[in-house]
Symmetry: C2
Subunit: 108 residues, 2 copies
């Protein structure tokens, strides 16, 4: 779960979520862990990559179809988290839905 | 340059670069800054987002075409950096080329 996602051969889909947090944790860390766990149990989930530093957080989740992304968006527990995200946790965010057309992996 | 990229309306392209570093800086920080600067001067460059923590670094660059991505890949100074990346800086990485089909921005 922690590191580079082992995705299948393209095409597949990616959701790029870049965010700037509000001050303080306010229950964010706990909810983020829960959402990662819950996303990974969804049908069509392929993997997730995440990094955060002082300026920005980026989470990329990978999915086998747009349908799977839509289903995750509509998941009830995820919808609760989305609302808290907008009211408490995120100062700003960008969410981009993409089709992965090519990929390349390197290991030393 | 630091934060969420202000990209135009889709479609456009994204390069998702997820990496695990080797130990030590070895000139990486300086080169990363130079490459961000150089990428931003390329034709077709739309923006860049970057975050790194102990486990993983994720950099997403945005481009107006696959042609622009190819031209950046072939840039001479970037090719030197790519070679040093494989021999010195990265333990592993994944590079994914995507077409951004939809996006959504939020500001508190």
């Amino acid at each position: 779960m922690n590191g580079i996602a082992k995705t299948p051969a393209p095409p597949y889909y990616a959701v790029i979520f870049a965010s700037q947090r509000t001050e303080g944790d306010n229950g964010y860390g706990n909810m983020a862990d829960k959402m990662t766990e819950l996303a990974s149990q969804q049908s069509g989930f392929l993997g997730i990559e995440s990094a955060r530093d002082a300026g920005l957080g980026i989470t990329v989740s990978y999915w086998d179809s747009l349908h799977a992304i839509q289903a995750w968006k509509e998941n009830a527990a995820h919808q609760v988290a989305q609302r808290r995200g907008k009211s408490e946790w995120y100062q700003s965010f960008a969410l981009r839905i993409c089709k992965v057309e090519r990929d390349y992996f390197f290991e030393m």
